[in-house]
């Protein structure tokens, strides 16, 4: 057996590198952010203005009643999902949930492995079928969800050791856990 495949971990790494090349064209297109703590249109406006300051944001449409922001991205800019959550916090509010839509070329993704979408490493916690070439994924993390939801996920993610430093994707700028 070839030495590089001597361990299962190395095999996973090789698969990840393979996907890196294949998935380099995968891009985020839009995001849906549900914001907690909003009470008025002035507050919603503050969130929208904060999101619009990101150079990769093309447009923001706020639903003032459901406090949901529909964010579309520019195709010629590097998208940072964590920056979206940070901007909501900067406006003085909290992210209840964050979902992003990405265009991808493959029809399935095995679970528990790192994938590069744009400049974001997304660690899928489960295997995914992508029949339409578009995938809507939910981001998992303290900054992407309310405290109660994060409390449930935290224990599950305790065994996950993934980080930006541990990936093989040199162009990656952020590391996120995602699910459907």
């Amino acid at each position: 057996m070839v030495p590089i495949f001597a361990s299962f971990r190395a095999l996973v790494l090789a698969v990840a590198l393979l996907f890196c090349a294949q998935w380099s064209s995968a891009q985020f297109q839009s995001a849906t952010i549900v914001v907690d703590g909003l009470t008025c249109s002035m507050c919603s406006y503050g969130v929208e203005r904060s999101l619009r300051k990101l150079e990769f944001v093309d447009d923001v449409q706020m639903d003032l009643n459901s406090n949901t922001a529909q964010v579309s991205f520019r195709t010629d800019r590097e998208v940072m999902i964590t920056a979206l959550a940070k901007k909501v916090t900067d406006a003085g509010f909290s992210v209840r949930s964050l979902q992003a839509t990405a265009s991808i070329e493959h029809h399935s993704i095995p679970g528990d492995i790192d994938y590069l979408i744009g400049h974001s490493v997304c660690h899928f916690l489960e295997s995914v079928d992508v029949p339409e070439g578009q995938l809507v994924m939910t981001f998992i993390g303290k900054e992407f969800m309310d405290k109660r939801a994060w409390k449930k996920w935290r224990a599950q993610l305790a065994d996950q050791k993934g980080s930006l430093q541990s990936t093989a994707f040199l162009e990656a700028r952020e590391y996120c856990f995602v699910t459907l």
Partner: protein, 318 residues
Amino acid sequence: MQRCLLYIFLLFIAVPTAPAQELFIHNNPASVLPRDAIAVRTISGLYKEDGYLRFRQGLRVGFGILSAWQMAVEVSFSNHNHPGLISELFGDGTVDHSHHNHGSGEGDINEEHLHPFQLNGITLSSQYRFFTSDGPNRHLRAATYQVLSTNFTTHNFAEPNLQHRTAGATVGLIGTWLRNKFAASLRLGGIYSLASHEKETGRAFKPGNALEYALSLGYLAFPTRYKSYQQLNINFYAEFMGRWFRRGLARDTDGIWYYIENSPETDPGRYLEFRPGLQFILNSRMRADFSTALPFLGRSYTMDYPQFQLNLQYLFFR
């Protein structure tokens, strides 16, 4: 008082589908400005005193420094105060503040009325939100606030007022709770006041240190359902504000500090005002606030009732 409580009760059952509002007219909620936002507010106060109208004009600029920290500076002008201390503070007679520092007699009132406006003081304030629990259309938040104030006129009352009347410092806490139709905010702070001095005579007067407290309630009357940022918002507020202050101290030319007896203006005291208010929000960026202040429990001797206030605020985003 019972009538006021009835009005407040009616306010909060009248529009059961409306979300609550916390953009209080007189008290900051525990929430702070968005990061990099700038709020410019003009504050115009009006009341009558001895047959003359008294005005206060303030300009307040608030900055969202961080997501949980804001600072503000306020400059205040009025025709209320005089640079000198009133002479009764240092005589044997009863102190009568009915002229509110405009000299010691009717002739002086007229004289003061000719050139009334002057710079009262500059106030620097900071607020940091240290606790946040957000949910869908609800939140519970807590913040700490600090105020530093300098003053260019004299203040001859035991009750300190750092917003435009007294030099000193304040540290306090704000808690704001909002759930569905109801918003309430509590504020409690301690005021350390500094003395007003007359450089020529060496006389001085130091207002008492104080506790300040406030309960603010509010709701949105219109619209019941949002359609756009351009929609006019109309909010109603009921705010209760007061202070519990210690006795004022005077210092005559001999340099000795002493109490002034039997004067409600310089005695220790406490009170609670009722400040109902109406607020219009235009384009989700501009606020116009109208409110009045009425005595509720006791009264403040620093100004006469009723007082009226108009605030205009515009929110800039950098």
